[in-house]
Amino acid sequence: METRFKIKRFNPEKDEKSYWGEYDVEVEPTDRVLDGLHLIKWYQDGTLTLRRSCGHGICGSDAMVINGVNRLACKVLIKDLGKSITVEPMRGFRVIKDLVVDMKGFFEKYRSIKPYLITDTPPPEKERLQSPEERERFDGSTKCILCGACTTACPSFWADKEYVGPAAIVQAHRFLMDSRDEGKKVRLEILGDREGVWRCRTIFNCIEACPRDIDVAGAIADVKRAILFNKS
C-alpha cells in the first residue's frame, strides 16, 4: 500500500527553520512506522536522521510525535494510521537534527531523583527479601523505558523546563515504593520542591502518551501522597 509520510525536517547546518518533507512509500499494512522511516532513509533520502536501536519497544530511543501523539515508531502499525502519516520530533526538547532531540536535561532530571537503591542498613547474609505484595506496589513503574514520551506530552514541562517531569517521577516511584529502599528522604526532598511533583496539574497527557501503559498519573499521585503522609 502507498503511504504518504510528512516528516518535520531540520538540519541546523542548513536550515533556519524546520520544514515538512513529503515522501511516498510503498509499505505493507503490517509494517510499523519505523519500517516506513527506514525505507525513506535507505532508498529515498539518506539524510533523514532518527534514533532507534532495538526496534521492539524496549530501548525507548524512537519516541516521536506520530499523527499528533507521542508514540514509539517501532510500536505503531501503519495500517492503524492510514494513508497519511505525519512524524515530528518530541515537543519541548531542542531539536538536534530532524527527529533527534537533545535529551540531556531529561536524563539530568532522571539522575536527580537518584535512580538506584539507597540503603543505610548493612546488607543481610543473603539478598534483601521482599514479598510478592511488596513487589506489586511498584510493578507498573518498573516498566518505564525512559523514552521521554510522557514528559514531552506534559504541558507543565513545555512551560517549565526545570520541572522534573513525569518520567523522573515514575522512576522515583519505582524506588520510593520499594520496601528495600531507604533513600526516601532525599528523594522526597527533591520531589517535594517547587520543581517537583506539585508542578503536576493532573492533565493526564502522560498516561495517554506512555507506550508501556504505565499509570503515570497514578504514580505521581502515589508520590504526592507519600510526601503528604511522610513522617520520617
Binding site: D160, E189, R194, W198, K224
Partner: protein
C-alpha cells in the same frame, strides 16, 4: 570500602526542604471545595433571590447586624483571594522565567493581594450600621 554513591545533582537548585509547596497544593484542594459552597451560596442570595436593584444600604446593614454574614463574607473573601493569588503564583512560576520579570510579577501580585485583603477585611469588619 565504602563507595560514595552520591551522584551530582546536575546543576539543579538544591531543594529547600520546605513543605510550602505541599501546603499550597493542599490549600488549593480544600479552599476549592469550600469555595464551591460559599461562592454558590453568595451567588444565589445576592444575585438570584435578590439582585442589585433590591440590595441597598439597609439590606447590607440588616445583613451585617449579626456576625454570621460578616464571618461568611470574610471567609469567602479570604479564601477566594488566597485561592486566586496562589493560582496566579503558580501561573507565574510556570510561564514567567526571566528573573526580573518573575520578581516584578510576583511583587505586583502580592502587593495587590495584600491591598485587596486589607481593604476587603476592613470593609467587612469595620462596617457600622447607622
Amino acid at each position: 570500602m565504602k563507595i560514595n554513591m552520591e551522584v551530582r545533582n546536575s546543576g539543579r537548585e538544591k531543594p529547600r526542604d520546605s513543605r510550602f509547596e505541599l501546603y499550597a497544593w493542599l490549600f488549593m484542594r480544600f479552599s476549592g471545595v469550600l469555595l464551591i459552597g460559599l461562592a454558590l451560596g453568595h451567588l444565589v442570595i445576592m444575585h438570584l433571590i435578590n439582585n442589585v436593584d433590591i440590595i441597598d444600604y439597609d439590606f447590607v446593614a440588616a445583613r451585617y447586624a449579626t456576625p454570621f454574614w460578616r464571618i461568611y463574607d470574610l471567609i469567602l473573601l479570604l479564601l477566594a483571594l488566597l485561592h486566586g493569588l496562589n493560582g496566579m503564583r503558580t501561573i507565574v512560576d510556570d510561564y514567567v522565567h526571566p528573573r526580573l520579570w518573575r520578581r516584578v510579577s510576583l511583587s505586583l501580585l502580592y502587593s495587590f493581594g495584600f491591598i485587596f485583603t486589607v481593604v476587603g477585611s476592613y470593609t467587612i469588619l469595620a462596617f457600622q450600621p447607622k
